[in-house]
């Protein structure tokens, strides 16, 4: 069957020492994290998996009695076309289990796609018709906390402690020193490549590009030798996939939107127009315009568009989650004849590795994920929040058991105790390439925790890419234009 090397790149490239070094770069010493991040290597994760039992019903029963009678409305980012079927099943299981555990709580859940959730939630809030509980992408919480829509919500309010969660994730819920949410899952992506295409292009099939400059070079070589697109660039506007793939590149080159990649960011200085940031943009320009080594459709593509390209053997490298392996298996089931054979060949040759570094050895990845929040009653449809019911739901999802299961194929549990469960042990055996994304966690950089982040990440950064890649502006002009727009956003004035 396959020549998949589980975590081979990780074992080669990551050691606890390097993780500690990376942490020293981005994690503020002043934060005094109670979680010792330096020990979170893939080996450590394996050593703690399956070492502790948790009883979710009993734990959450202490927060809200299991016979409590009430009602809770809930919006969340559901599974969409880019997610594996496995995730859909866990979503179904979660809601069924919650209803069984709390038979007297009427749960009204509504799933929205990643790209729609923020828009619909904002609209609902304007009409004071929001849900009682919402699960938002990590970059969204601060916007709503700063506007006063969210209640304060600490892990202690639902029976956990801050030490049970990644410090970076907790930080994404903080606004002016107060906590407004609980992390459900945290993710860092990895580089995925097709070893067969590497081989056909004359590259070492088991050696991923070490730096982003290598990515540019590899992509060009693959295109020249095979006629197939090298790197799966994504530059669509209003799509979360774009910043998740461009920001690691930007940070690796030493750039940033502000100083979010530094030890103690204060978001005061715009850095999108620095020489380092421009080098990162230039790398994308070189691949798309100069070398034409990435899919032409990059400007309208999301990651969900890259997946079939990759499975068809028409794309050599992309950045994504471990869940993409399951997505490939799901997609392969739909293929027939020679397409199915091609798909199987791609799956057999699928490799995962660490995201490349910048020229100075700096490695970075977006520290992503989602958080759960409870709204203030005045913004909720009906004007009331059933606190015990809302807390029961948040407790349930962020429990070690469910924060692990709901992140089973794609990311990591928000609750660190999830790593200790038997399901984590089972997951390590079932889910390929999990080690790689676990190994990327220490390199995770959260998006700037400011209310303007969604606009910057979903519109201004993709706009900058599109302006440069279409030749509408030069790389310099596009970077300067984006910096000007961010200045305008921060001053709350012009477009």
């Amino acid at each position: 069957m396959s020549k998949i090397h589980l975590g081979c790149a990780v074992r080669r490239g990551v050691s606890t020492a390097s993780i500690a070094a990376a942490l020293a770069v981005w994690w503020p010493a002043s934060a005094q994290s109670p979680v010792d991040l330096t020990k979170w290597s893939p080996e450590y994760v394996r050593s703690i998996a399956g070492t502790q039992e948790f009883d979710t019903a009993a734990d959450c029963g202490k927060v809200t009695p299991l016979n409590y009678r009430g009602r809770v409305s809930f919006w969340y980012q559901g599974a969409f076309e880019g997610d594996p079927d496995l995730l859909r099943q866990y979503y179904r299981d979660f809601f069924a289990t919650f209803r069984k555990t709390y038979p007297n709580i009427q749960l009204e859940d509504q799933a929205l796609t990643y790209n729609d959730l923020l828009d619909k939630f904002r609209t609902a809030l304007l009409g004071t018709a929001g849900p009682m509980v919402v699960r938002l992408q990590i970059l969204g919480g601060v916007e709503f906390a700063s506007k006063g829509y969210l209640q304060e919500l600490k892990p202690e309010d639902i029976g956990y402690t801050a030490q049970d969660f990644w410090p970076g994730a907790m930080k994404s819920n903080m606004w002016k020193g107060k906590t407004y949410g609980i992390p459900t899952n945290n993710e860092t992506m990895a580089l995925i490549w097709n070893a067969d295409l590497f081989k056909r292009a004359g590259l070492d099939p088991d050696k991923p590009p070490a730096t982003w400059d290598d990515v540019v070079r590899y992509s060009k070589q693959i295109k020249e030798k095979t006629g197939i697109a090298g790197y799966g660039l994504v530059a669509r506007k209003n799509a979360g996939n774009t910043p998740y793939r461009f920001m690691p590149q930007l940070w690796a080159y030493g750039g940033g939107v502000f100083d979010e990649a530094s030890a103690s960011p204060n978001y005061a200085q715009i850095q999108l127009n620095t020489a380092a940031s421009k080098r990162a943009l230039q790398a994308s320009y070189d691949m798309y315009v100069r070398d034409k080594s990435v899919p032409v459709s990059a400007l309208t593509n999301q990651q969900a568009d890259n997946q079939p390209l990759f499975l068809a053997g028409q794309l050599a490298m992309m950045i994504s989650h471990p869940s993409d392996y399951d997505v490939m298996l799901d997609l392969k089931k739909k293929a027939t004849g020679s397409d199915a054979q091609t798909a199987q060949n791609v799956i057999d040759n699928m490799r995962y590795g660490l995201i490349p570094t910048g020229p100075d050895g700096k490695r970075a990845v977006v520290f992503g994920g989602s958080n759960m929040h409870i709204l203030k009653p005045e913004y909720v449809d009906g004007g009331k929040v059933d606190q015990p019911a809302a807390k029961a739901l948040v407790c349930f999802w962020t429990s070690p058991e469910w924060s692990l299961k709901m992140a089973y194929a794609g990311s990591n549990p928000g609750n660190l105790n999830g790593f200790k469960t038997k399901w984590m042990k089972e997951r390590l055996e079932n889910i390929k390439f999990l080690d790689v994304t676990t190994a990327m966690l220490p390199y995770g950089i959260p998006f700037p925790t400011i209310p303007e982040t969604p606009e910057i990440m979903n519109i201004i950064v993709p706009d900058m890419l599109q302006n440069a890649l279409t030749g509408t502006m030069s790389v310099d002009q596009a970077a300067e234009d984006a910096a000007r727009k961010i200045r305008n956003v921060m001053s709350g004035g012009k477009l």
Binding site: D119, T123, K147, R236, N238, T300, Q466, T470, G493
Partner: protein
């Protein structure tokens, strides 16, 4: 019921009454339409008023809408001073004029073809209506894949047939994206024009066409001098309805490109949506909407006038 004859002459000879007096006289009529008026005030008048009011406020992303800051006409100045606005305006006019014109011409051609009896006409008519009746969202996704710059059906066919060395770039190029989207829009809209004009063709008097034939008029002359003048009214209505629909057209552009690349396919309505919901600049989006509202209202005015003129002409003939 008894009618007292003395009352009628008394009203007929009275001085022209004021608006309020006339309203009072017809108070019972107003009572009947009052529920409809109340609904219209709530769902139309209030949103219009609120949009106009909001257009004078700044609504930074870090503040709730209720904390908006009065800025007078600043939002209008920001819009008119923005390069993107002028690019989007040009896109909007190209989109509207070309889409409307092409949909009308194609619809007219199809209506004329289907006007003549031939075997399979009913089936053909049903097939041609399909683009109009299927979901716009589904159509946009299908076209996105048809146009796909790497895997699109059109590109593959062109390469296969030897017309192109590699698949053309339809929606990932600033130069070709708008024409490509217009093709989709025309494909979606022409059946509407076809139906309207096919109905109009039924009203062309047969005897006039026969008389023209007797006078030696060919097919073109019969169409130009007899058929087309009779379609004037329905043509005006069709074109104006299409134009208004195109000014407000959102789905095709948003789903296929999101206004990109580099704003090359943004039209007013998608740009307003992005400013409001993506960037939360409700004030600027409201000012933008007011401008769009005025333009669409002007079109509505010409629509009503056009209909009136056509009716008069129809009555005279």
């Amino acid at each position: 019921m008894t009618i007292r004859p003395t009352e009628v002459p008394a009203r007929a000879t009275a001085r022209p009454a004021g608006v309020f007096r006339r309203a009072w006289i017809h108070r019972a009529d107003y009572l009947y339409v009052l529920p409809a008026i109340v609904v219209m005030l709530i769902v139309i008048a209030y949103p219009v008023y609120y949009t106009i009011e909001l257009s004078f406020y700044n609504t930074p992303p870090s503040l709730q809408l209720r904390d908006k800051i009065f800025v007078g006409f600043d939002n209008y100045a920001i819009i008119l001073g923005s390069d993107v606005f002028w690019q989007v305006t040009l896109n909007t006019f190209i989109w509207t004029i070309v889409s409307t014109g092409c949909a009308y011409i194609l619809g007219l051609g199809c209506a004329l073809c289907l006007h003549r009896a031939f075997p399979g006409r009913a089936v053909m008519r049903a097939i041609l209506i399909i683009p109009w009746v299927i979901s716009a969202v589904a159509a946009a996704y299908i076209w996105k894949w048809i146009y796909h710059s790497n895997f699109g059906v059109i590109g593959a066919l062109l390469v296969e047939l030897g017309f192109a060395g590699r698949p053309p770039n339809f929606i990932d190029s600033v130069n070709s994206v708008l024409p490509s989207l217009i093709v989709v829009n025309v494909w979606r809209e022409f059946p509407f024009a076809m139906i309207m004009l096919a109905a109009g063709l039924q009203t062309v008097p047969d005897q006039l066409l026969r008389a023209a034939k007797v006078d030696g008029a060919g097919a073109w002359h019969s169409f130009w001098h007899v058929t087309f003048p009779h379609l004037r009214g329905v043509s005006i209505a069709t074109i104006l309805l299409l134009a208004v629909a195109n000014f407000n057209s959102f789905i095709v552009t948003w789903i296929m490109t999101g206004g990109g690349p580099a704003n090359a396919s943004h039209i007013w309505i998608t740009h307003i949506y992005e400013i409001a919901f993506g960037r939360q600049r409700w004030g600027i989006a409201a000012a933008y909407s007011v401008i769009l509202f005025l333009i669409v209202m002007s079109l509505g005015y010409f629509y009503v006038r056009g209909l009136g003129g056509a009716e008069k002409e129809g009555g005279a003939s």
